[in-house]
């Protein structure tokens, strides 16, 4: 996942010229108390986790003193927010917010341009607002070759009903956001709320920055911040997922692996985005319960396949394995199969009892067929087998409903 944590997001926005609140990152409650003192006593304490809606999960607390901050920090540390254990906190100066504004920048696929979404009525319920009062959510497409001009941002603020000094401050904040969006190859930036404070200042009270994973080669300093804490985007990585990441790391230049573990009992290693998705749908249709999903980009990845298959076979309770891919154009299927065959031989299973069903088609298929023949009991298919044939076969054999 390429989403920065809140502290890194705010740092990036602050460096880009957007006013952000003062904050500190803490790992225990005493630190939080000291941070609260330094920040003036009145603070907000939030769980530093890579998911949103922390407030609704009880992982945001207000404190009026260092002691309250300590107590709040203790309550939040050790909590789990949507399966993410809270190990770090962000302690932020409390803001006296008069008005909450919503602003985000992302790419719009139909118009093929950066799109600013803006509402003068921001806050946590902005989706409901958009649903019931779509006129209150402004869409502002930007020509990426021309950029966002200051006068355009001011017009946007005006159309949203803001005026005077507030409109000017907001316009300058939106321009700063757009600058960050371009400078760091962001996929999405969201500031909600962009807060108008009682003293008249405009501050990004919370921010999310999502980077473009395809552009990280230009931003090694940001890539280093992404780490594994973000998990798969909605829960932390499992042990098996961490192991697969290590396997993927043995050679970063060959065959990038995408893997996720699921609750089922059929090892599902069907490659190709569209083909994998279609196959997963067919497997579910047949009553199959997938234990994994797996994809690997083309390349000479025999060793990665060997280790990946062994890792999937090691999952407790697994009842069968389906390995397949759409008809290959260039990637020789015998390279893939060579790794698979080594893993199966090393597994020392009786493949008449533990079903392994394999389907590959394309260049190298004759060689692959010979390799597979070295492992008795493995069921081999080529271009004649359809997605549903394979789903039906693995479900029948793994769940003992063999129709052969």
């Amino acid at each position: 996942m390429s989403r920065l944590l809140e502290n890194d997001s705010l740092t990036l926005l602050g460096e880009g010229g957007l006013p952000v609140p003062r904050y500190e990152v803490c790992t225990d409650s005493n630190e939080a108390a000291r941070a609260a003192e330094r920040l003036g006593g009145r603070v907000v304490i939030k769980a530093l986790v890579p998911v949103g809606k922390r407030g609704k999960a009880g992982a945001v607390k207000f404190a009026a003193s260092a002691d309250e901050a300590r107590a709040g920090a203790e309550a939040i540390l050790g909590m789990e927010v949507r399966r993410f254990p809270v190990k770090k906190l962000i302690v932020m100066e409390a803001l006296d917010i008069k008005r909450e504004i919503f602003c985000s920048i992302s790419f719009d696929a139909p118009r093929k341009c950066p799109l600013i979404l803006f509402s003068a009525e921001g806050g946590v319920d902005v989706e409901e607002l958009a649903e019931h009062h779509p006129d209150k959510l402004l869409e502002w497409p930007v020509n990426i070759l021309e950029g966002l001009q200051a006068e355009d941002a001011l017009e946007l603020a005006g159309r949203a009903g803001l005026s005077g000094g507030l409109a000017e401050q907001v316009a300058s904040a939106v321009c700063a956001m757009y600058g960050v969006f371009c400078a760091h190859d962001c996929e999405m930036i969201e500031v909600n709320p962009l807060a108008e404070l009682a003293d008249g200042r405009v501050v990004a009270a919370a921010g999310v920055v999502q980077l473009d994973a395809q552009a990280l080669f230009r931003h090694p300093e940001l890539e280093a911040k992404l780490g594994v804490e973000g998990g798969n985007g909605w829960r932390p990585f499992t042990e098996l997922e961490m192991r697969m990441r290590e396997i993927d790391a043995i050679d970063p230049h060959v065959g990038a692996i995408r893997f996720s573990e699921m609750d089922g009992d059929i090892g599902f290693m069907v490659t190709g985005g569209g083909y994998g998705l279609s196959s997963l749908e067919a497997l579910l249709d047949e009553g199959g319960r997938p234990a994994t999903t797996f994809d690997i980009t083309p390349g000479r990845y025999e060793e990665k396949m060997r280790r990946a298959v062994k890792a999937v076979l090691s999952k407790p309770g697994i009842k069968g394995l389906l390995l397949a891919g759409n008809v290959s154009n260039f990637t020789r299927v015998d390279i893939k199969v060579a790794g698979v065959v080594r893993a199966l031989k090393e597994a020392e299973l009786d493949f008449n009892k533990f079903p392994v069903i394999i389907r590959y088609a394309g260049p190298g298929v004759e060689e692959a067929r010979k390799l597979i023949a070295e492992v008795p009991g493995v069921e081999w298919h080529e271009d004649e087998a359809s997605i549903e044939d394979l789903a039906r076969r693995i479900v029948a054999r793994a769940y003992g409903r063999d129709e052969r």
């Binding site: 985000s104 958009a130 070759l145 999405m188 985005g273 749908e281 980009t297 759409n326």
Partner: protein
Amino acid sequence: MSILLDSDTRVLVQGATGAEARRLLPTMTDYGTRVVAGVSPGKGGELVGGVPVYGAVTEALKNHEVDLSVLFVPARFVREAALEAIEAGVPTVHILAEGVPHHDACALLTRAKQMGTFVIGPNSQGMVSPGKAKLGGTGGEVPDLMFRQGSVGVVSRSGGMGAEICLFLTRAGIGQSTYVALGGDLLIGSAFVEMLALFEQDPETRAVVMFGEPGTDREEEAARFIASGGFTKPVVAMIPGEFWETSPTPASVSHTGALITRGRGAPSGKKRLLNEAGVLIAERFSQVVPLVKQALEQA
């Protein structure tokens, strides 16, 4: 006359001296693709597979007429290479690279729109007019296994599934007019609507298969286009992934995602709209071939 790519389409290859092009260019010319020149900055004067290579697109255009440029350029150099072709006035630019940064894709697509350039990709696996010509990796070393000349247009957001659909059509004896892999990225030059408009004008095409995916509203656009009479031949569509809609959805991390999609992009909605527009929906892969047969009877 096939859409976009025919036996007499004059093709320029950018990134001609790179490993990908050296490997794939001979398979393209062997198949019949009319590659007139290559471009590789600093490598002017070389020959790749008998094709003369120039240091810049403008140099190549001084010596050759070009209808289409196919980019074998690595993702990080795509922006520069594509803009070079667009500025030089190449009518169609076909981008194969996977992993082009969004900001780069956005910039080159914006310029292409200003210049009236037709763009396919980025992240297109290729394009084939069976029996005539092919571009990119699609069909690879085994084009006749997957493709045969005929009257069904195939358009896919997934390169792998496009190839798989063509394989099963070919196995059933149903040939294709042209197959285009649109590219799976968020920002791509052409989508279903552009292809349907071309297929509508193509007398060799009698029906079209589209393979869609969850996300964006490209299939919804296609449904509106068909419903409004923009495409009058029969269409078969497959869009997997409806099961995700009922599985526990990941906790949303931002409001923007929800605001951008606002209910669009779900396979069920795409299929419903397409069905209302008269498209035959293949709920499962095995239904594609029978529905295409049915469509050809209607055509």
